[in-house]
């Protein structure tokens, strides 16, 4: 199973904070087959650093610096290159061993499952409030 990771740097935490970005990228690069990075214009050498470790860095050509644009760009590229995509933000530190779990999950996953998210704590808007009534256990 080829796993390609796409990271989006979109004014969240590591924009122009290369040292933080490095930690996040390394947590992926240590186990993924490839890492693609979307950077929306950091001026701290992020693009050069990603290239120096063999990664590929995309930058917006049309001024669209939304997270959605970055997510679309790296997801499409990663999906063309691998079997499974890891789409992650620049402030996520993936813990050692994540790859084995992801591989195991997708090898046996129910076909109805569309997304296996690596963080159950982080909230999208209001997610935790709905979770009380809308969540349930799943065995993949």
């Amino acid at each position: 199973m080829k796993i390609v990771a796409g990271m989006v740097i979109h004014n969240a935490v590591t924009h122009d904070r290369l040292e933080l970005a490095k930690e996040a990228v390394w947590s992926l690069a240590s186990e993924a087959d490839e890492v693609l990075v979307w950077d929306n214009g950091s001026t701290d050498g992020t693009e050069e650093w990603v290239a120096s470790i063999g990664g590929h860095c995309y930058v917006p050509a049309d001024g669209n610096t939304t997270g959605g644009r970055g997510m679309n760009r790296v997801s499409t590229a990663a999906a063309k290159r691998g079997d499974v995509v890891v789409l992650t933000a620049d402030d996520m530190i993936w813990r050692p061993g994540w790859r084995a779990v992801v591989e195991e999950f997708w090898t046996h996953a129910d076909p109805r499952i569309a997304v296996f998210c690596g963080c159950s704590r982080t909230s999208t808007r209001g997610a935790f409030r709905r979770a009380a009534s809308g969540s349930g256990p799943c065995t993949a």
């Binding site: 979109h10 997270g67 644009r69 997510m71 779990v101 129910d110 109805r112 569309a114 704590r121």
Partner: protein
């Protein structure tokens, strides 16, 4: 392996089959701060499932540069009623959601 089925899962840590990107998931709306949630709603409306586990640590929850304030109203997910265990060794500092059912009081 256990996970938690949820109505939404944060787009900051997704994994998915490549084919699903082309068939179901993509593209995200290109609206700052509102990309993952509508995509989750669409997938769930199509009968697809969203599953969460703990594989990563979110370092930027309350440090958003672009102004994400969701940490101010979001409540930590109480997993004590679910058979969800921390998927990888080690607990994340300050993250009670990684407590397994066995460890929970």
């Amino acid at each position: 392996m256990h996970g938690l089925i949820r109505p939404t899962v944060p787009g900051s840590a997704w994994t998915f089959r490549s084919q699903d990107w082309f068939d179901a998931i993509g593209p995200f709306p290109e609206v700052q701060g509102y990309d993952d949630t509508p995509t989750c709603h669409r997938l769930v409306s199509w009968g697809r499932l969203l599953v969460a586990a703990d594989l990563a640590e979110h370092r930027g929850e309350d440090r958003s540069v672009w102004g994400n304030q969701s940490y101010r109203y979001a409540r930590p997910l109480d997993t004590r009623g679910f058979p969800v265990t921390s998927t990888l060794p080690g607990r994340m500092v300050g993250d009670d959601a990684t407590l397994s059912a066995r460890e929970a009081p």
